[in-house]
Symmetry: D3
Subunit: 130 residues, 6 copies
């Protein structure tokens, strides 16, 4: 395992069912490496896909906003795979160069002020506690 990918033709019916649902939901015939690797542990593949499908569906937040939040977290954690795939997904959902520029500027500032607040041990304002 560890990077080894399960291709469609080698997959069990359980895994194929998830792959089919991914391709149908995303209207594509490509399966990302992420899913092909998760397929080494079918319960994790199924559970993760079902959660992602539910969480990333349009709701009170639109899909573009959700993809940008995903990218913000991935850049903060430095997950190389996730940054690459969610930059692509956010672009597909409409993110322009200018929006990416502003997004990363906010991510950068948030990471800076997070450490200033921690390092100076700033007390939470009373009005923010409620």
């Amino acid at each position: 395992m560890g990077g080894q990918m399960v291709e469609y033709e080698d997959a069990s019916p359980e895994v194929r069912a998830v792959y089919d649902d991914i391709m149908a939901t995303r209207k594509t015939d490509l399966i990302n490496n992420f899913w092909k690797v998760l397929a080494n542990h079918p319960p994790t593949l199924r559970r993760t896909w079902e959660s992602i499908k539910e969480v990333m569906a349009p709701g009170a937040l639109d899909p573009l906003t959700k993809e940008m939040v995903y990218l913000a977290v991935s850049a903060t954690n430095n997950c190389k795979y996730c940054i690459a795939s969610h930059t692509a997904a956010a672009r597909k959902a409409g993110m322009t160069d200018e929006m990416l520029g502003e997004l990363l500027a906010v991510v950068g500032m948030a990471n800076e002020t997070n450490r200033l607040a921690n390092g100076y041990r700033v007390q939470v304002d009373e009005r923010f506690k409620s």
Copy 2:
């Protein structure tokens, strides 16, 4: 220092100028504890405020989206102060309970899949590299 706050009446003219700009920009007469503590090092107060003012201004992304991205980073880093203050700021900018619920759901999933991608050492798909 370390938590000690510089109040307006005790502040130097340099610090007061920043406080005045914060209050004018945000249309409030309240200065958050964060700024009062940063005032212990006036160059950091000034530089951080100027960056935040520029970065958080409306642009290709609207202020609400920026506040939610800020909150997503702060929840990922577990900066207690930042979570409290940016939850309040996002609500003021229009975030509903339903939007917060979806936002944190995405943040949670991103943190989960970041570790699955890392732990399984997933290779970046060729088409995400360009």
Copy 3:
């Protein structure tokens, strides 16, 4: 330095003594790159090896559990080297594909719920404080 490796034949007696102990303890004649690089600062090589040897020895927890905990931390931190070397070590200690699958599933969920608990600012239950 920064990646440069100290090979056995070029090593000082102090470094060789550590290499010898590593090979004897682990019953192998291979020295991992990690140790070869640490050898650039012999006190860190010696101290780190002695700590690892003590901490990873069987005790109240068995070596496999310890290796899996090590891997869980490394996946959370996204330390590429550590994920690779401790996945190998855990497999050598008996970790199967199924166990790795469940391990990373827990790591993923823990990283997700950590952010949900942070983001919602959940108060610690009284009964968990004692």
Copy 4:
């Protein structure tokens, strides 16, 4: 929201169904604050509980090992709530003081060596890549 808890008597049928399942599965009549706060966003409550129930069930890894891995991640991320609740859960599953001592010793060492490997930019050994 943000810390506000949904008690059983005020909960919707959807939320009550999850609470009932938590209490039945864990053989307790106590609902942790974590779930009471997640109940502000019922889809996240349901999805998170279902994932946790599946992931933490006994499988190739026993429940105690899983709780200790959960705690290791939470200590690494400094999630105060999660450390408190999963220390309690691990103790209930059989973790002794000695086991906790060894667990945290491994967590500490892993966090140390993660940074040594990163800081020295150690290349992954060829034999760990496969």
Copy 5:
């Protein structure tokens, strides 16, 4: 355990020996809570103290620089206890308010640019690889 402290009068001879060495080395009669809690697992108390004593001793870097680096890491990780204790230790070693201000400014900027470098997936310059 979990926060419970082992006081000198209740400590085993093994723990007392470490406490005695801490007090002698630091020329104080106070034992920090950190050590009193580690004393629940005596091997970790001993090993951690011996490592800290060696690592923090004056060498190619002076003790003040070392304390400031410690604080920089602790602010980045948001370890509340460590920020509080190492701010105190750095002040004792000579850190002024101005130095703390500059230190946290660097820590903040480093955390910002770390995410900009990650988020934009900047390739390492050839001349930095050697």
Copy 6:
């Protein structure tokens, strides 16, 4: 974008002005990849450079100490680019192999004890709170 670099000959006057200032300030005719990528979003390029120039200038802390703190944060966050570039910058400012060895030893220990303090939930000593 995402890795694409803006070379001097293709840059807008706004971007060239920043590049010119970087080369003049650092007395070099090389622009690091980091700046060439930030140039995709000129306001972030300008703002980040101005902050870095101000924060890294000699003050109460000397430039070498600042570079080592930067490196300590980057190693903790595992920002590959930042570790490579700031190791080079610190060496240029006078960091020897011995100093790097001690620096990373402190970074490693800080990351270890941060988790021990978190994992054991150590209460902050009263005298560290003021």
